[in-house]
Amino acid sequence: SSRLFAVIRFESIIHEFDPWFNYRSTHHLASNGFYEFLNWFDERAWYPLGRIVGGTVYPGLMVTAGLIHYVLNLLHVTVHIRDVCVFLAPVFSGLTSISTFLLTRELWNQGAGLLAACFIAIVPGYISRSVAGSFDNEGIAIFALQFTYYLWVKSVKTGSVFWTIGCCISYFYMVSAWGGYVFIINLIPLHVFVLLLMQRYSRRVYIAYSTFYIVGLVLSMQVPFVGFQPIRTSEHMAAAGVFALLQAYAFLLYLKDRLTKQEFQTLFFLGVSLAAGVVFLTVIYLTYTGEWACIHVDFFFPRHTVFYSHLGPFYAKIHIPIIASVSEHQPTTWVSFFFDLHILVCTFPAGLWFCIKNINDERVFVALYAISAVYFAGVMVRLMLTLTPVVCMLSAVAFSSVFEHYMGDDTRREKPPAEDSSDEDDKRNSGNLYDKVSLLTMLMLMLLMMFAVHCTWVTSNAYSSPSVVLASYNHDGSRNILDDFREAYYWLRQNTDEHVRVMSWWDYGYQIAGMANRTTLVDNNTWNNSHIALVGKAMSSNESAAYEIMRSLDVDYVLIIFGGVIGYSGDDINKFLWMVRIAEGEHPKDIRESDYFTPQGEFRVDKAGSPTLLNCLMYKMSYYRFGEMQETEAKLDFRTPPGFDRTRNVEIGNKDIKFKHLEEAFTSEHWLVRIYKVKHLDNRESLDHKLRSVVPKQKYTSKKVRKSYLFQ
């Protein structure tokens, strides 16, 4: 229920950026049907390229929401699709909780399962992705992840095809929901591989993995976005390799039964050398046919780069600024570990230790899960999400074993003192022990209580803001709602032509498409780096150069976010360096990052700032007429100079801003969103009265000359 803070405090609305796209496509699905959705070509995005939405999304989320909406409407429960979308994540976090319980019960026992379910229900690391209104892939993917793992553990335990097929279906759902399915398809082979290494191979593992790999592979290829990737790209090669290895191993075991030791050894060597030869030949073949090159190209295909950046913290920073520019792709700090997991981060190594101490097949799995997830979470803040469930499970294991140990003793110890009253000494002794035990139990309970308090606090303060609507508090505690984003987006929706093209930085692409229903140039699906760089270049060039670019891109309006009036720090000027960097990556001749710094190497917007910065389009658009603005009502004590930027706490450097090719079209109430209209070409200017020079259409030359001209 703490997930509903946002709805209670604000309203039933979709949060953030990506969910707006998901909402929009779900809306499309709900109103146009499934096949129309799969074939959807969205001409409203990536103008002039467009986007094939059906083939470039993980449809699981939309289909789930659409299906729920469809079923409800079939029963005449008239629920708007928006409400379905808003409340989908909390509903699925309930299911996650159940599947975590099942998984932990398989691993340890019922008590630990219950604790794990309680933890996952309130842990901030997961709440951050599953508050009401956060309609994102991760919300349902974590459920699918946990459930797939549960079914996998179950199928390894039983070796039954039934459970494995269940696991495959769940895996299919996961594939259709989130790109993080790669985590499953690598972790499960890893588990099998480690089991092989540990000499824990059994028929059950063989059945489970063989079935899982084949069926899972076929199912995952049914998702349009994934397509043939599972057999082409390197992320999936580990699974194939382990599959082959498992088959070989099983075959060898089979032979071992049939053959004598001598025969077996020769066969083994023969087999190994044969296998090596085959691999070698395949590589040569692939290199010749170019398939290998194709696989290599995939390494640099933008869609996969996110995956590679998952692998190494520095990959993205070096290669692609656009991935590095996203805040949730930054390496995780220690603070955020504690912030998101609190006490669990301390207890989970203990749980891991318990698991390793009493190892069995499925505990190997959870140990691998934990180790890999910790690594990934360290690489990227975003992947904290995959770590959270395993941390909950292992902490639950730790807590439950501690409780079992002490509380169990407690009940047994209670009997003797009740039995006889003769021995004073013994009684005091046991009483002491009793005190210690109860003290420890109390301490643990206190920890858990503090955890719960922390979780609620984090949820209410950090994760319950829709970020579309801002709230500020007055001195008397009353709340002010700053609704500038929607004000401006709605203005665009109502008062511009239906087909206008709006240029903005890519962060706002999905919101413009979702709320304003207008064509955007770039959006949060950052698949085309050069297009984004072009927009970045337009923003960071001077006005006339930018006008050229905007003309060539058919831009009608430019939308920027400016927080200087109210002190909103996430505005475009603060993101500006990323635009410059991304533009520089593609257009190193025109844009140089160093031009935007002062000679001292600072990024300043005041008088000392570099002239390139003070005259670039973004700067001019942000501060147009801001120089006249005098902030008096906010700060009564001292008069700030006119044009005082409250976000960066400086007086701006260029107050006299004039536009030639643009005009202000709309500015929201708190100046948070500013929209400029790109004027059409002035027809007066081109009237230069040059003398008409008549160019003869055809030169009359002799045939000889023409011939020689030809042969020149």
Binding site: V77, D420, S422, G514, E664, E669
Partner: protein
């Protein structure tokens, strides 16, 4: 067909029209808002030879398409101003719209009658210039008629024009009118022939909000469970001079006269009992609104997300709930819903196109509708919502060009069988019943395709062990009881009590032990290895029993003085520790079971 019929009828009427004369006409043209409201007070005199039942009102052909409302009432000598019945009609040979007004009582020859006619025109004030910048003021042009457009000759008339401001660019100067602040007075004109027209053109400043509701869809959903839900979907447009050039927020915030013709907010008045008011659009709640509950109404200060400048538009939904007892009347199976067909949105509202949908409860029959004015009825629809099976009937009506005068009540009569009220709860009950019933069937019956003998045995064994457990615990209870008996004996030294206690112990113990052994035998028969464990329990138990007996004897000896107290305590301690050990073993065995 209707119109031509009336037209035929009029042929005879125009003859009698010759007898009527407008003695004195006072026209007031109110142009202070974005509507043109023309109020005409006229004195009709019948100079013909026969009594007249009706007279004709006419509207100039230029203005006729914009006429939103026309109403006429007799201004009598203290009599009530009831509205007269008006029928649209036609006159051959003359353009314009004509309305036939039926008098309540006929006007005798030579008699006079005072009539007040109200007409409201929408979209007749044309902004000129049509595009203005943010700093400019809005100027509009009105084109009308200096004279009263009437089929009758007029003896004397005056026209008074009320403007929105003092600033007037130009105005036609027929008959040297006098201008005083916001008022221009024309006339008096004498002896004006019928159908006379002379263009009156006034170009003046008018910064009042030129708001127009492009389309309004009002949905009224009636529930017999005590609630009427009203939802209005409104398309709003600023129809004044279109904003040219840039919109500067700076100027708008700093200079009070910047964007003077723009609209920041307006008030919507809802019924007094309105609850749960919401105000939103496609992308969520509009947070810039205020609600004020007054005694006789609920006032919503509706502020669109952005100020509306000329040519800008917005779209929103406002909705609220009303208690049905205020609007729904019932007599047996007959119901009548009396509600406003259209409600107040803002002062001097203009609605270009209105659609009203009235959703009645499922099962409503014999529906008919009494509208206060002529309105187009579309075919009924069906609406499905929570727990509906065959759909709720929806009445749909539309009308164009409405103004404030159209805020009137509509009455919908229908029949509804009250038994149908029970349908929805029963549906829910039935659904749950079926759900539980299937669960019961699923749990109680065995749907397995194959029999699993092992599982059956396991279940049997489990039930037997359960019984063993309770019996063993009972037996241990016996020992505890015996201890109490012994303790009591130590104090009271009543040998009889001790003996009887011992006897009951012996007896109970024997029966319990027998029962356990029989269960053990059954376990063995099922082939369970638990039988051995039970046997072990039995063995340990017999030792415990022995110990109990011994402690009993010891106590006897102590009481008899055969042993010293110290020795007894020593002994007792031994015994009890041993017993503890055995009981522990039994416990652990039981746990293993």
């Amino acid at each position: 067909a209707w119109q031509s019929g009336v037209g035929g009828h009029l042929g005879g009427l125009s003859v009698s029209a010759g007898g009527l004369v407008n003695e004195e006409v006072k026209r007031t043209v109110d142009l202070s808002t974005h509507l043109a409201k023309i109020t005409t007070e006229l004195v009709l005199s019948n100079q013909g030879h026969s009594a007249v039942q009706s007279f004709i009102l006419s509207v100039e052909p230029d203005l006729a398409p914009h006429l939103a409302y026309i109403g006429a009432s007799v201004k009598g000598d203290g009599e009530d101003d009831g509205l007269l019945e008006i029928q649209q009609s036609d006159i051959h040979g003359h353009s314009g719209d004509f309305y036939k007004v039926h008098l309540a009582s006929s006007l005798a020859a030579g008699a006079q009658l005072k009539v007040k006619v109200e007409m409201t025109f929408s979209h007749v004030l044309k902004p000129f210039p049509t595009h203005i910048t943010q700093a400019e003021r809005q100027l509009v042009v009105f084109q009308g008629n200096h004279y009263l457009y009437s089929p009758y000759p007029t003896r004397s008339q005056t026209t008074r024009v009320r403007l929105a401001s003092k600033t007037v660019e130009t105005y036609t100067k027929l008959g040297n009118p006098s201008k005083n602040d916001e008022i221009i007075e024309y006339g008096p004109f004498r002896d004006v022939p019928p159908y006379s027209e002379d263009t009156m053109k006034i170009h003046y400043e008018n910064n009042t909000p030129f708001l127009t509701i492009g389309s309004l869809t009002r949905t009224i959903e009636v529930s017999h469970w005590g609630n009427i839900a009203v939802e209005e979907t409104i398309d709003l447009r600023h129809t004044g001079a279109v904003l040219r050039g840039a919109f500067s927020r700076y100027d708008y915030q700093r200079q009070s006269d910047s964007g003077i013709s723009s609209i920041k907010s307006f008030k919507t008045i809802l019924p007094a009992s309105a609850q749960d008011v919401y105000y939103r659009d496609e992308i969520g709640n509009i947070s810039t609104s205020h609600l004020q509950v007054l005694d006789d109404s609920v006032e919503v200060e509706v502020r669109p997300r952005f100020p509306l400048f000329g040519g800008w538009k917005t779209h929103y939904v406002i909705g609220y709930n009303l208690p049905s007892y205020e609007y729904l009347y019932t007599l047996g199976d007959q119901y009548a819903l009396k509600m406003r067909l259209v409600d107040h949105v803002y002062d001097d509202q203009v609605i270009d196109s209105l659609t009203v949908k009235i959703i009645l409860p499922e099962g409503a029959r014999n529906i008919h509708m009494d509208t206060p004015y002529k309105i187009d009825r579309l075919p009924n629809q069906l609406h499905y919502t929570y727990l509906d099976t065959f759909g709720r009937p929806v009445l749909v009506v539309t009308k164009d060009n409405l103004v404030e005068h159209h805020i009137q009540d509509v009455v919908v009569h229908y029949n509804f069988n009250k038994i149908l009220m029970l349908q929805e709860p029963l549906l829910v009950v039935g659904a749950f019943y079926i759900l539980f019933f299937t669960v019961i069937i699923y749990v109680r019956l065995d749907f397995a395709i194959t029999k699993d003998p092992a599982a059956e045995v396991r279940m049997k064994v489990a039930s037997i062990t359960e019984q063993v457990l309770t019996l063993v615990n009972k037996r241990l209870g016996l020992y505890r009881h015996m201890d109490e008996v012994v303790n009591r004996y130590k104090q009271s030294r009543d040998t009889g009590a001790l003996n009887s206690g011992r006897k009951t112990l012996e007896a109970d113990h024997r029966t319990l032990t027998n029962e356990i052994s029989s269960l053990q035998a059954r376990l063995k028969a099922e082939g369970s290895d638990l039988a051995e464990k039970v046997g072990e329990v039995q063995k340990v138990d017999s030792q415990v029993k022995e110990l109990v007996c011994r402690s009993c004897q010891e106590a006897e000896r102590l009481v008899a003085g055969k042993v010293k107290k110290e020795a007894y305590i020593e002994n007792e301690k031994n015994l009890s520790s041993k017993r503890q050990e055995f009981v522990g073993r039994i416990d652990s065995l039981l746990d293993a079971l």
